[in-house]
């Protein structure tokens, strides 16, 4: 193709088209004016959010629902600083996002110009990598590098800060076909010898246990995971980030492990002799007291990021590689060894499964239901019934997030969308916007608490604007429930600044934006109200008033071993 003279803004859009970008979540401003002028009649769709933080969350929702790179855009100064929480959130959960920010004109940089901020410096630790573009000729390769870095290896956010003069300048544009990143190592295949040794260890184990995480989903390796699970017939837990990596209805799936995991999941981890850890990071919310975690287990750890190996828990057998490539080869190695090795521990493994079934039966994860009031768990069970394991659920952060993770089934990857690592309140609603744009065919529930919902209320306008048929379910207990739970359990029930009064009338609120909303206080009405919301072709806002003092159980108190979980609330002592 012959080169032609284009503005920096147009060159940027050309590069985005070449990266298959179809949608940008953003908010315009002074220095991005030239970019927005170029967008005016460009086929790439721009979704105007109502706050830049939500542009980053929406881009994440898009990325989490598809595996493609989500793109967000903000102006210099406050626009860029507002993105930061969303970027750190994407960093913690390894979500591929490219953020485009405007920067003041090169000549004004460093002069405390209007809306100037050191975006490059501020986002250094908030991103996997970031760029400052002061020369229009650097722009094409930077954009392609950014997409490659965001999506490859362990995915993450990449920010490109672009000065206004670069947007406005003109240059001959020739498409870049190759990028050079000599210091960027993407680990692929995994070591063959290690894979073979892993297969051996797996057959040798008497009580093997699978611990699968978000890395499986990021690698699009769910099918290979299912094959692995069935080949070995291994009990499996998926972390908060990994829910859906194995279908929830799969007979080998137990639940989420950790702080609010099930009894069987945590007992399994405590008594296993071999953990197969796939795309996980032994997070403190999973392991509890690290020194007491899985005391009898050897660990096989497969991860694409070498820095995760032996970071928290020593890996007896590390494999650094892409699960999409490692798992099929591990499955092959397992098949080869199966005839000679599988029968060896058959009896012990049967015993192990028996034990796990007993644990499951002893303390199952079931929703408590009342006939007189709406228990939050009951609400999740109803949503689960409607979803049937197939709807997209975005959640905010807190008690509702844990109950959703415990009680709603996800039979596919990329259905459960939540802020796992950073735990950013306000995430749920904008993430649903991104997910619904990415998957218009899907039923999307946004389950939020009455706290987090109020952090992103402005996005109701975006939802109304586009008629997005998101079902917003506010699990309203009148409190910042998770903080209240901790105050109750660990701070002598001194409830400090956790009561949320003055929640708006949702019928009026949704009505003000032009869609339907309704409050539900009666348990008998709840299923019908949910059905009505789902039947509505447009958005729907439900305010479900649940019992205010419910706590999330099981629970491993912070700093305790996961074997010391508290299974249910202490029973009231009779006076």
């Amino acid at each position: 193709m012959s080169s032609n003279l284009l503005s920096g803004a147009k060159i940027l859009l050309e590069c985005l088209v070449r990266e298959n970008v179809d949608c940008i979540f953003g908010y315009p401003g002074g220095v991005t004016l030239p970019l927005y002028d170029a967008l005016y009649d460009h086929p790439i769709r721009h979704v105007l959010v109502r706050h830049e933080q939500n542009a980053a969350f929406a881009a994440q929702g898009y990325a989490r629902a598809t595996g493609r790179v989500g793109v967000c855009c903000a102006t210099s100064g406050p626009g860029a600083t507002n993105l930061v929480t969303g970027l750190v959130d994407a960093m913690m959960d390894s979500i591929p996002v490219v953020a485009l920010t405007g920067q003041v004109t090169t000549k004004l940089m460093g002069t405390d110009a209007f809306q100037e901020a050191d975006t490059f410096g501020i986002t250094r630790s908030a991103t996997k990598h970031n760029y400052l573009v002061k020369n229009i000729n650097d722009l094409p390769s930077v954009v392609h590098e950014a997409f490659y870095i965001a999506a490859s290896g362990r995915p993450g956010p990449v920010l490109i800060d672009i000065t206004k003069d670069v947007f406005q300048g003109q240059a001959h544009y020739a498409p870049v076909t190759e990028i050079h990143l000599p210091g960027y190592k993407v680990h692929g295949e995994g070591h063959s010898g290690q894979i073979r040794r892993a297969a051996q260890m797996i057959w040798e184990a008497e009580r093997p246990f699978l611990y699968a995480g978000g890395g499986v989903i990021a690698a699009n390796a769910s099918d290979d995971l299912r094959k692995f699970v069935e080949k070995v017939d291994i009990p499996a837990v998926c972390t908060l980030m990994g829910l859906g990596a194995l279908p929830a209805e799969h007979p080998n799936f137990i639940s989420m492990p950790g702080m609010h995991g099930s009894y069987a999941a945590n007992m399994g981890l405590t008594h296993t002799d071999l953990i197969i850890a796939l795309g996980v990071r032994f997070d403190d919310r999973v392991t509890g007291k690290l020194a007491a975690f899985a005391p009898h287990a050897k660990v096989i750890h497969v991860d694409v990021d070498p820095a995760e190996i032996s970071k928290n828990r020593h890996a007896d057998l590390p494999i650094v590689g892409d699960l999409k490539k490692v798992l099929p080869r591990l499955n092959e190695a397992l098949s080869e060894l199966a005839p000679s090795m599988r029968p060896r521990n058959a009896a012990a493994r049967q015993e192990w499964w028996k034990q796990i079934r007993e644990w499951k039966a002893e303390h199952p994860l079931v929703a408590e239901v009342s006939t007189t009031e709406i228990k939050p768990q009951h609400l999740m069970a109803e949503i689960d019934r409607i979803s049937g394991g197939n709807a997209i659920v975005t959640s905010d952060v807190g008690q509702h997030q844990m109950w959703s993770a415990q009680l709603i089934r996800f039979n596919e990857p990329r259905l459960w969308i939540n802020s796992g690592g950073l735990g950013s309140m306000g995430f749920g609603l904008p993430a649903a916007i991104g997910a619904q744009f990415a998957r218009p065919d899907k039923l999307v529930f946004s389950i939020v608490g009455d706290g987090g919902f109020q952090m992103s209320i402005p996005e109701l306008a975006t939802i109304a604007n586009h008629g997005l048929p998101i079902k917003i379910i506010v699990m309203n207990n009148g409190y910042l429930g998770m903080v209240r739970q901790w105050q109750e359990l660990f701070y002598n029930n001194r409830l400090s600044q956790v009561e949320l009064n003055s929640f708006p009338d949702v019928e009026k609120l949704a009505g003000a934006y032009g869609f339907k909303g309704r409050v539900v206080e009666n348990v008998a009405e709840m299923p019908r109200a949910l059905a009505e919301a789902v039947a509505e072709p447009g958005p729907y806002l439900l305010n479900i008033k649940v019992t205010p003092f419910e706590n999330v159980y099981p629970m491993v108190p912070a700093g305790m071993s996961i074997s010391e979980m508290v299974l249910r609330p202490p029973q009231p002592v009779e006076a």
């Binding site: 996997k128 970031n130 990028i179 970071k311």
Partner: protein, 175 residues
């Protein structure tokens, strides 16, 4: 590491975000002007060391990070030192300078400016000795190190643009 704006900040940021204080840091370009070599002296507890080095190796701008104390290496530092002294001590100072193989880079009636290189402990001694002759001013360069082992720099080859995104896109379509 790549000789690019921000590369230094990424490396030092990994240390500062973990609360480590950098004892010394030197950086300059290599034979290949697009690359720089950096030597950082930092006290990191052994349990955290592997993690910090792995994190450094993950930085896009870093080609390779290693702990030179793991193997044979030579460490050197330079000191520029001004000593103000009374006339009678001048000869003695020159004698001491000779012992430390220091060079006189400036000489005035008030004293000398001396330049010396060596390993950091030796330089500490030199500074102590000079202090005994009068008032001193010192600038230390920070340590530069070179591994004496044969290590080849492994660089990633170029990749075609759009590779990562295409893969995800196809998977999505199958879905």
């Amino acid at each position: 590491m790549e000789n690019k704006p921000g590369a230094l900040m990424r490396v030092t940021g990994l240390l500062s975000q973990r609360g480590y204080n950098i004892e010394s840091l030197t950086v300059a370009r290599t034979l290949d002007p697009t690359l720089s070599r950096m030597t950082i002296a930092v006290d990191v507890e052994p349990t955290a060391k592997a993690q910090v080095i792995k994190q450094m190796n993950k930085l896009i701008n870093v080609l390779q990070a290693t702990d030179v104390t793991d193997g044979a290496a030579v460490n050197r530092e330079m000191v520029l030192l001004r000593v103000r002294t009374a006339q009678p001590s001048r000869t003695a100072i020159l004698k001491e300078a000779e012992i430390f193989q220091a060079r006189v880079v400036d000489s005035t009636t008030e004293g000398f400016a001396l330049e010396v290189t060596g390993d950091p402990e030796k330089l500490d001694e030199f500074i102590d000795v000079m202090r005994s002759y009068g008032e001193i001013d010192v600038t230390r360069s920070g340590m530069v190190s070179m591994s004496l082992e044969n290590k080849k720099l492994r660089l990633s080859p170029p990749v075609p643009t759009g590779a990562a995104q295409d893969e995800a896109f196809e998977l999505q379509e199958v879905d």
